[in-house]
Structures are given as C-alpha cells and as structure tokens.
C-alpha cells in the first residue's frame, strides 16, 4: 500500500495532539522525570541518557488567556502560547526545563516560566549562535559540559558516556526513519500529506524515542510504495516556520489547491531531522559537533554563519525535489524569519522561482483568503510552466 496505515498513524496523531497527556502517562508508567526543552537546537539525547523523558515544549492549540498579561501581543505565537501554558499550569508535568537557543522572544517566555514556576529548575546552556568563529566549537563543547553537570545535578544521576552513545544511536535511528518518509514523499512514491508528515515529526519530539522508533518501523513495514503523484499537481516546497508547527488545516488547505508538497525546510519537518550526531569519538563532543553541523546541512535564520546561506540551500533543495515554487510560512512576529525573508525572496526572484508568503497566527486561520491566494499562486505557476520557450 502506498499510504500510511491508519491504525498505527492514529496512535502517533493522538500523541502529537496531546503531548502533555503522553508525558504524564509516561511519567506514571516509567516513574521517572520529564524534562521540557525548547526549539530549535536542544540535544535531547543528553536528557534521554540521564533516564528522563525529553519533551520539546509545543505550541498549544488552546486560546491564550493568562499569557496575555505576561507577554505582549507582538510576540510570536509560540512564545505567547508557552507563556500562557506556564501561567495556566499546563507545564506542570515537567520536572525541569533546559534550553540552548538564544531567541529574544523565547527567552521572554522562559522568564515567564521562571516566574510562574520558580521551584522548577531552568537551565540555559546558551549555545553560541555565531557558528564559524574560531572559538565556536570550544564554546559549544563548554556549554555541553555545563549542561551535563546541570542535568546530572537536577536529576541526581551520572550520565555515563555509554548511555549517551546509546541515546545518540536511538535518535539517529529516529531521524533516519523519518528521513525515509520524506524521501518517499519527494520521489512521489508515498502518498502522504504535509500534515501527516508533521504528525510523524511532532510526535518524535515528545515521545520516548525507542517507542517512537518502533511505531515508525511498523509504519514503514506496512508500506509498498509504488505509485506516482498525478502530473497535474503543482510541486511546492514549504519554507520557514520556526519553532512551532504550522496548523495542519493550513497544510491541508494548501494541498487542496492542486498542490503536491514535495519538500520543506520547516522545523517540524526536514530541519529537525536534517543532521545526525556522530557516533564515533567522545559522545559529549559529538553533541557539539552535531549542533555546528546542523547549520550546514540546514542553514537557519536564527544562526549567523558567513560560509553558508539559507537561500543557497533553498535553491539547491528545489533543484533536488523538482519543486516549481515556494510557499514561505511565517509565524507572525518571528524576527529571524522577517530578517531573512528578503534574502530568500531575492534569491528566488533572481531565478524566476515563484514565492508566496503566508503569515500565521495563534488565533486562527483566515481560510478563505489564504485559499484564494494559494489558488492564484498555483495558477500563476501553471501558466508559467505552459509558456512556450522562446526560440532565441
């Protein structure tokens, strides 16, 4: 069969839509702590190796209430939602929080958590965001070391290098399995929607990794990929959207407009699974290497690096997927994306690749207006493809 098995998939779907429920259940089952981390570069392996459940805190779908009076309305939906979750007690399942990313808005939300839950430890291992300085590697190694000390202290355990190596292998396997789904989608041999792939990635961010691996393996085993997508569909690449997943209904709406999403660089997508941790050498150093490697395999607007460019990476991935255009999904008020977007647009414009920008908000989706814009965009691409090549 060339579609996902619905029974196995629905398990993952349920967990992706209720990560806190899963975490609470796991905690009861395992009798061990749950540690919350934040996007987009935290090495979950280290928490896993300490015997706890690492969970990347997700944007909640519930309306923001208390959070309104804790973070201003001009913050991205993810950080406003996190602040709200902290204020209304939705984060109570966590025994500690850890983060590595310096985004000014994220730190605002982290401060709200510290304020709302002063008794819960919160460690900030600030990984350097300037990636190619002579001291970048040493700085990250230093931060991984302090992270290790902190996690050991909070959880009252010692992280053995062997345990970390085992966790690294489990997470690498998970990324490898997820990449297979992406690869099958890209080649058109698997009929999987963008929102379904989002479920696979999102659930991997919140589940015990070995459990997730088992479910993914089951899903893959049930596939018999052979079909090809109809040629009438316009092949698009989805770009942007850091930290939080775009609403599944938005992804569905895009695909309903005669679109086949063939690839993406979303955080809840290719960006998350882009890079493996080296399995040789010191496992703690390997986490530092992973962090630095990630921005090379999938450059990100939240990092600065002279010798890699997100725009070049985007153009290259369009070539490999055969996408006809790009939809940039931007969480409203996300500054790194607002800053990088003109460079992406410039690179695409220069190559005559159509691009459409859609802003997303926590509060909802202006479905009809988005639909009209996507349909117009798709029509434009169709016409462009029909253009008779000039004889000159």
């Amino acid at each position: 069969m060339d579609e996902l098995d619905s029974a196995a998939f629905s398990v993952l779907e349920a967990i992706a839509s209720n990560p806190m429920g899963y975490a609470a259940d796991w905690k009861r089952r395992a009798g061990r702590p749950v540690v919350g981390s934040f996007p987009m570069n935290f090495p979950s392996e280290i928490v896993h190796a300490a015997g706890a459940l690492p969970v990347i805190v997700q944007e909640s779908r519930t309306p923001i209430t208390e959070g309104r009076s804790l973070l201003p309305e001009f913050y991205c939906s993810y950080t406003r939602s996190v602040a709200d979750q902290a204020a209304v007690g939705e984060l109570d399942v966590f025994d500690a929080f850890v983060l590595a990313d310096h985004c000014v808005q994220l730190l605002g939300a982290a401060d709200v958590i510290r304020w709302a839950k002063p008794e819960t430890p919160m460690h900030f291992a600030q990984f350097i965001s300037s990636m190619d300085d002579p001291w970048s590697g040493a700085q990250v190694r230093d931060k991984v070391a302090s992270l290790r000390v902190e996690v050991e202290e909070i959880l009252d355990v010692t992280i053995a290098p062997e345990a970390l190596s085992a966790s690294i292998r489990a997470f690498n396997k998970n990324r490898h399995l997820l990449r297979q789904f992406y690869e099958l989608r890209k080649t058109g041999r698997l009929r999987v929607s963008a929102s379904q792939l989002q479920v696979l990635v999102k659930s991997s961010m919140v589940m015990e990794i070995n459990e997730h691996n088992e479910l993914l393996e089951g899903l893959l085993a049930g596939l018999d990929p052979h079909s090809h997508a109809p040629d009438s569909l316009v092949r698009l690449h989805l770009s942007g959207h850091f930290c939080a997943p775009p609403r599944p209904e938005l992804l569905d709406l895009i695909e309903e407009c005669g679109v086949l999403v063939v690839n993406d660089d979303l955080y809840h997508g290719t960006r998350y699974i882009s890079t493996d941790v080296p399995e040789e050498g010191d496992p703690f150093d390997a986490l530092a290497t992973w962090y630095l490697d990630r921005n090379i395999s999938a450059p990100c607007g939240t990092r600065v690096q002279r010798n890699v460019d997100w725009d070049t990476y985007l153009v290259d991935s369009l070539e490999s997927s055969g996408a006809d255009g790009v939809i940039t999904l931007m969480a409203k008020f996300c500054e790194p994306l607002m800053l990088y977007y003109p460079e992406l647009r410039k690179a695409l414009d220069t190559r005559d690749i159509p691009v459409l920008l859609i802003e997303t908000e926590h509060e909802g989706l202006a479905a009809e207006s988005v639909r009209t814009r996507v349909e117009t965009f798709v029509e434009r691409i169709r016409r462009q493809k029909l253009k008779v090549p000039s004889l000159a």
Partner: protein
C-alpha cells in the same frame, strides 16, 4: 563657583523638598510647556551633528569605516584610527529628526516587514541605499538614490563588527546587512552571552556566572583587535585605548554623579535630559570634550539645586521610565509628562546603560572592564537581576509610578515588562501603566494609550496618598 560635586544619593534624598501632593488636577485648555530642560545638553546636540557630518566625509578623507551595532566598541575603533557608524545611533538620529521615512521605505521595498525591529529596518534601509549608491558609482547610472537624503549619506563600510548583548535580533540584523552588501566586506562577531542569573549566588555584578563570563568576552575582544589590525594593516595602539577609556571613565563618573543629584525633589533634571545625553556617552569620540560636556551638565544641575530650580514646574509625581526611547516623540513626551506635573526622573535605558559602572574600568586592563560593561547592558540580564535593578532605582529616586513604554518592535526591551510591573507593585506598592509606541516607527505610537494610562496611574497614586 565650586560646589561639592560628590553629593551621594543618600544626601540628596535627605535634601528633598516637600511636594505639592494635591490630587490630579484637571488640565487647563491651553497647555503650557511646564518642562524645563537643561541648557547644557544642547552642546551635545552640536557635538553629535558635527560627529555625523565628519562621518559622511570619511571616504574622501581616506579613512577606514566600520559599521557596528550594539555595544559601545567605539573606544577600540577610535584607538585603531577608524571612523565608526553605529547602526542604532543613526536610526535614532533619523527618527528624532523625522527623516526616517526614505530609509524605512527602501527597507520595505527590499522586503522587510513592518513588524521587524524598526532600528534594524531603518538601518537596513540605509544599507540598501548605500549599496545602490555603490552600484550607481560603478555603473555610472545616477539617480537611483537621492543623494540629498540624510539616510543615503552613510559611507560604505570597509568591514562590520557585531557585538550585540541580550537581543538575538541585533546579531541577525548585521548578518543581513553583510548580505545586503553582497558579502563583499568582512564581518566580525563578538558573542555576548546572557547573564541568565539562575544560580543561587547570581545577582547584579556578583556570582560565578558574572565572574567567568567577562573573561570569555575579553578574549574575543583581543581577537577583534587582531582582526582590526589585519584590516587596517596597522598595529593597534593600546596606549590610545587606555587613554580613551580614561576619558570615558571620567565622563561616566560625572554623569552618574549628576544623575544621583536628581534624587532631590523636585528633581533638577529629568530622564529626557539623560536621553539627550545618550549619544555623547554612547558613541562620540572619547576626549576632553566629552568630559567637559558631562562636567557642564553636572554643574548646571548642581546650580539648579542651589537656585531651587526644578526640571518640571510643580513636580508632584516622580516616575521611572522603562523601555527603549521613542525617538520620534522625544520633545512631545517631555512636554506631555510635565503637563501632568510628572517628573520622569530615571529610566532603565538611561540609568542602567552606557558605562554605568565606571569603577569596573581598569586603565591597565581596559578590555576586561569593557567586556563587563557589554554584559551589563540592561537587556542582557535574566528576570531576577532586572527585578533587583528596578527596585534599586525606584528606591534611589523616590519613585511613585512607572511608565512602561511597550515598544512594539523591540522585544528585548519589552520582554519582562509585565512581570516587572507586578514586582514593583508587590514589593513597593508602586503603580504602573503601559503605553504603546516604538523606537523608530511613529505609526505605532498611540496617544490615547499614553493619556488614559497616565491619568489612571496618577489617580491611583492620589488614592494611595489619600489613604496614607
């Protein structure tokens, strides 16, 4: 006349005059300007204008030009014989002169969205215009850029240096400027970690985190100097750096002494005078003129105390200003607060920034003190330290209320405001209000949010006083 210049905060508090504490009065229809700004700060305006005029001719004078953002690296640039263009400073200047339009429009055309930090988008717009200017020169096609616009006058950079504390946007902004110029000029990044303040021993200027982090930054500053030496092909003048820092240290001491005098009630100078003095302390050349400027400011304040001259006629409320400055509205806000008998006495942006701990500057090891100052930028602390600083300032200046400028596009400055407001009320019973505006985009300013919030806060202060 020589006066005792070493009035401590404690002394000034005890010399407080009694305030007229009648409840909020209805305003007269005809609003008179009740503010009384310092005269000495006008010299600063002249110094700043001359500084920029000089920058605009840097290329003709064969100078190396560095574009930089964030922390005050200028003493290093000055010692290296460079000309320095501070991104935020130029954006602020354009906004204060109401000349930000063309740069913001150029930024918008390039693709920057209106919700992006307006300092960044204004400055990136300038970069777009400067880059077009370069293309014009190369292509011989003129007219794409109006050379008369102030925004287009920045000389193109020879290289960039970024050292932005607290705000991730600051670093990303320069990474984009670097790309607007087609990566043609090198960029050097100094990474400034947050002082997160999570440990038991953490606090303002204390704890292991505080002791360790500046050393890491100091090492990067040494590398920066090697980079500059490579760019300029000249050995760095360490003696000049110490000399520059000696002027800065003295200017800073004078500034702080003068600020401390404003603990007196009514205050002889306001936050707005300190805003007018930001440019000199933040990026003007370190020299005797800088010291003289702050000496003159302090002298005028001292004299005002002697003559019993206040900065706001009939001061009845003492307010602290939290948030980055709204540069489009400097004069307007000065008059507006004074109209309600409010003396804005101190603020996070003015009092917890800009070489505010001069005792840290060791002329024999200037880079360490500089690194320490870069790390105590008021947006580079975690919440606990912010709370500590806010309460300290409120106590020092006898604050009755806090105005939070909810700066639409500067998330770094607005980050902790809601919580700080709760802390001030909880710990000191201080009333607060929040109003909407922006650092360099006038369209976000909401007069009604200022007016209604301010009146409501003053009424609660009145009620509180009536109870007492």
């Amino acid at each position: 006349m020589t006066l005792d210049l070493s009035l401590s905060t404690q002394q000034s508090l005890s010399t407080r005059q009694s305030l007229d504490l009648l409840p909020t009065r209805p305003r007269s229809l005809e609003t008179v300007d009740k503010s009384n700004r310092l005269k000495s700060t006008s010299l600063g305006g002249k110094m700043v204008a001359e500084y920029w005029d000089n920058i605009f001719t840097a290329k003709e004078r064969g100078k190396h030009v560095v574009w930089y953002n964030g922390t005050a690296l200028n003493p290093i640039f000055q010692a290296a014989g460079l000309e320095w263009c501070h991104g935020e400073a130029f954006s602020a200047r354009l906004a204060a002169m109401h000349l930000e339009g063309p740069a913001q429009q150029a930024g918008e055309e390039y693709g920057y969205i209106g919700e992006l930090c307006s300092y960044a988008r204004t400055h990136l717009g300038c970069a777009v215009m400067t880059q077009k200017g370069i293309t014009e020169k190369q292509s011989g096609i003129v007219g794409m850029v109006d050379q008369d616009e102030l925004a287009s006058k920045l000389p193109s950079p020879d290289f960039f240096v970024n050292a932005y504390a607290g705000c991730s946007t600051g670093q990303q902004w320069d990474a984009m400027t670097y790309r607007v110029f087609g990566k043609d000029f090198p960029i050097f990044n100094v990474s400034l970690p947050m002082i997160w303040g999570n440990k038991k021993d953490s606090g303002y200027l204390r704890g292991t985190e505080w002791e360790k982090t500046p050393l890491y930054v100091e090492e990067q500053l040494k590398k920066l100097i090697e980079f500059i030496e490579y760019q300029t092909k000249r050995p760095f003048d360490w003696g000049a750096l110490s000399e520059n820092m000696s002027y800065i240290k003295r200017a800073s001491e004078l500034r702080l002494e003068a600020m401390a005098l404003c603990a007196a009630a009514p205050t002889p100078a306001t936050y707005w005078d300190w805003v007018a003095s930001i440019a000199p302390i933040n990026f003007l050349p370190a020299n005797q003129m800088l010291v003289d400027y702050f000496q003159a400011v302090k002298d005028e304040i001292t004299q005002r105390i002697v003559d019993n001259v206040s900065a706001v006629q009939n001061e009845r409320y003492r307010v602290y200003f939290d948030g980055i400055m709204n540069w489009n509205k400097l004069g307007f806000l000065t008059r507006k607060f004074a109209e309600y008998d409010v003396a804005v006495v101190a603020g996070r942006y003015t009092h917890d920034s800009f070489w505010q701990e001069p005792q840290l500057i060791d002329l024999d090891r200037p880079l360490l003190g500089m690194a320490q100052h870069y790390l105590i930028c008021p947006i580079n602390h975690g919440l606990k330290i912010m709370e500590e600083l806010l309460i300290k300032r409120c106590d020092e200046f006898g604050i009755d209320g806090i105005a939070f400028h909810s700066t639409r596009t500067c998330r770094a400055m607005t980050n902790p405001q809601h919580i700080l407001a709760r802390t001030a009320e909880r710990d000191r019973g201080i009333k607060t209000f929040s109003f909407e505006g922006d650092v360099a985009d006038a369209s976000f300013y909401k007069d009604e949010s200022l007016e209604s919030g301010l009146v409501a806060m003053l009424e609660s202060i009145d009620q509180q006083r009536a109870k007492v």
